[in-house]
């Protein structure tokens, strides 16, 4: 530092001290000036950022704080990808065609709870739940119907499925084969992030170790056969929705990511063979600047760890590509139209943070699955942001902001401190087995609830600005029991028309392979091609692997 620069800093220190005295003396509002859990300073200056801050960085260069593309959004806008699915495959197929006709640029499949848990629509545990909050997919036949008339070599598809992810992925690859589309042409993402299921979302099937084996099987198999496919979407979304703070979301999700990398390397894979296909998924909450800083910090931490800790050399291994979704948990059932505004601010934070794709929630999602009209407003929110606001014109427009840079550094430091704590408790897997990670999230959730009930945290329309006239009614989507009836009929037809000997043979082969170290993907794919059902495939492996049991506490 030159003498002139040091004198300049001294002058700034003096001015900040004078400002501080005026600030302390002034009258201030009684409110919670904090983002998730941490008090925020009332002013940030050059004194708050480290010398080597991202100010000295350009987008597209290590450590990618300022974004993964040198062109920002000038090369390509983010993908507008609305998560959708309900009822039966034919109904959801029609909704996908509607979304594509309205200018949506990618598909994202929401499965119903039976599918998420690996149960067929005609299984006893599925009763009452078929098609209720996603589409019911129980075999290749349903998957073929879901994408009927939608060319899978043209549209990228994201699938939110975890416990039985490899099975649904096999249905998808087999459905593409039926369309005449080779696996090498498929582009999209399977969520496949089981660690966050144990931590937060809870749609698990197998115990932790065999579940991790299936994930690494998929990394290895896909690297060879489905090279453009994202084999995992390491998700902070559900961790945040379950109550985590931004720093916890950041740290726990990245720690999951590091665990997958360690497991891949332990299998003998070269990190640069599978790390380029790892993608991420973040929750975009209300605190505008904190969310932007979180996304910037996430990219930087991932790049640094992959390079320095795991020895990745390929730039594609270092860059964190991610999907974002606005925070469902911030939506309110009271005055639901207000949700449009919340979603718009959150969407803007996601874009200022450099997201690759975005789902904007619909205003009615605390009441039911969204109606077409509500989804259209949510999609239009992204289009206004993309084409009218000018926000995507400049890469990382908040880079160099004292506040955003300081917050980015702070979140990175907090994440590193949490990584150290996770190591102390024995790593992610041990932390899940003992419930340590789940408890951290629960405690944050309870604190936020307390703040809301004490009115330390304001939620417009819920604990302040409440209207006397009661709830504003908006039209809601109804998914009746017809879907369940129809889906059972479809299943019966499918079961009657398949080759039973082939089904049994393929299931036996899978069960036998599960007892060895063989990569199970080819066996699962063969089951899918023979129209083995989701539950049949799940059960064949469960006989070998057993089932997961959660540590129950509150």
């Amino acid at each position: 530092m030159t003498t002139a620069e040091m004198l300049e800093l001294d002058r700034l220190r003096e001015e900040v001290a004078q400002w501080r005295a005026r600030f302390d003396a002034a009258k201030k509002r009684n409110a919670l000036f904090a983002n998730s859990g941490e008090v925020v300073e009332p002013l940030y200056t050059a004194l708050d950022i480290s010398g080597d801050a991202a100010a000295a960085e350009v987008p597209g260069e290590f450590p990618f704080t300022r974004g993964i593309h040198p062109t920002g959004y000038r090369g390509k806008l983010w993908t507008m990808r609305q998560f959708a699915g309900f009822g039966t495959a034919p109904e959801t197929n029609a909704r996908y065609k509607y979304l594509l006709s309205r200018g949506q640029t990618g598909l994202s499949v929401a499965f119903d709870f039976p599918t998420l848990m690996g149960y067929d629509s005609d299984h006893a545990r599925s009763e009452g739940e078929v098609g209720k909050c996603g589409v019911a997919i129980s075999s290749l036949a349903d998957m073929e119907t879901l994408f009927e008339g939608i060319p899978l070599d043209k549209v990228s598809v994201s699938m939110t499925i975890n416990g039985p992810a490899v099975i649904l992925f096999a249905f998808y690859v087999a459905a593409a084969e039926k369309q005449g589309v080779a696996a090498t042409e498929l582009r999209g993402t399977i969520q496949n992030d089981i660690l966050k299921e144990y931590m937060a979302q809870h749609a698990w099937v197998y115990p932790i170790e065999p579940a991790l084996r299936l994930i690494v099987d998929n990394f290895a198999w896909s690297a060879e056969h489905v090279p453009l496919w994202n084999t995992i979407s390491i998700s902070g979304y559900h961790i945040r929705e379950a109550g985590a703070t931004a720093a916890q979301e950041l740290a726990f999700t990245l720690a999951d990511g590091f665990t997958y990398v360690e497991r891949g390397i332990a299998r003998g894979l070269d990190v640069d063979d599978f790390a380029p296909r790892l993608s991420f998924f973040w929750d975009i909450h209300n605190d505008f600047f904190e969310e932007i800083a979180k996304l910037r910090a996430a990219r930087r931490i991932w790049a640094r760890h992959l390079k320095e800790r795991f020895g990745a050399k390929d730039t594609r291994s270092l860059i964190m590509r991610f999907h974002s979704q606005t925070a469902g948990v911030t939506l309110t059932a009271q005055q639901p139209m207000n949700n449009i505004v919340r979603v718009a601010y959150q969407a803007m934070a996601a874009v200022l943070g450099g997201t690759q794709s975005l789902h904007t929630n619909s205003m009615d999602e605390t009441l039911a699955l969204p109606t077409e009209q509500a989804v259209q407003v949510a999609l239009r929110t992204q289009q206004v942001l993309a084409y009218e606001t000018g926000v995507p014109n400049v890469a990382d427009p908040l880079g160099g902001s004292y506040y955003v840079e300081a917050l980015t550094d702070k979140l990175e430091n907090e994440a590193e401190a949490l990584f150290a704590k996770i190591e102390e408790v024995g790593g992610v897997v041990r932390g899940l087995e003992t419930g340590w990670l789940q408890r951290q999230i629960s405690e944050s959730s309870s604190r936020q609830q307390w703040e809301v009930e004490q009115r330390r945290r304001t939620i417009v329309g819920v604990n302040d600005f409440v209207t006397e006239e009661g709830e504003l009614t908006i039209p809601l989507l109804k998914v009746g029991i017809e879907a369940e009836r129809e889906q059972r009929a479809r299943m019966a037809e499918m079961r009657a028309s398949r080759d039973d000997a082939l089904v049994q043979g393929r299931l036996t082969a899978l069960r036998d392979a599960a007892k060895t170290d063989a990569n199970l993907m080819p066996f699962i794919l063969d089951c899918a091609r023979a129209y083995c059902t989701l539950y049949e495939i799940r059960a064949a492996m469960e006989e070998v692997f057993g089932a997961y049991r959660e540590p129950v506490f509150f």
């Binding site: 709870f113 039976p114 998420l116 848990m117 149960y119 545990r125 599925s126 009763e127 009452g128 739940e129 209720k132 909050c133 299921e197 979302q201 809870h202 749609a203 929705e241 379950a242 109550g243 948990v329 309110t332 059932a333 009271q334 605390t366 009441l367 039911a368 699955l369 629960s442 959730s445 309870s446 609830q449 809301v452 009930e453 939620i459 819920v462 604990n463 709830e471 009614t473 809601l476 998914v479 029991i481 959660e550 129950v552 506490f553 509150f554």
Partner: protein, 136 residues
């Protein structure tokens, strides 16, 4: 007065337990004895647990849209065992008209998102006092 015993339960396949855990903790902090079932319970598992644990109240948390199937089944199983005295209440993502239908079918009050936990505590206390007064 003896502490009120509550079973907080998650029927069906949905994994959203943030609300259930917040409610369980709030009821415990209000002096009630709370048992939490954990996730993915069938109506049969819930009814059995309620009877075996001899609870006064069953609180069902459901966000999967399966409420019209699963909640009446819990009610029916308790009735079949002669336990109409147990209050079946709960909440989640349940549209108003479905809440009305379920309440007409015999549940206690059902609560939507954004309900302060103090409201649940007060509701359960009032219900319990009224029941004790009747049986006294």
């Amino acid at each position: 007065m003896r502490p009120i015993r509550v079973l907080v339960a998650k029927p069906g396949l949905d994994g959203h337990d943030r609300g259930a855990k917040v409610v369980a903790a709030a009821l415990r902090d209000a002096g009630m004895e709370v048992i939490y079932t954990g996730l993915h319970q069938t109506p049969e598992m819930i009814a059995t647990a309620a009877i075996q644990e001899d609870v006064d109240v069953v609180g069902l948390s459901i966000l999967s849209g399966a409420h019209m199937t699963l909640i009446p089944r819990v009610l029916d199983l308790l009735r079949a065992d002669g336990r109409e005295d147990i209050l079946v209440t709960g909440g989640g993502i349940i549209p108003r008209e479905d809440m009305d239908a379920l309440e007409a079918r015999g549940t206690g009050r059902l609560f939507g998102p954004g309900t302060p936990t103090s409201e649940l505590v007060e509701y359960i206390h009032n219900w319990f006092e009224a029941r004790e007064a009747q049986t006294a």
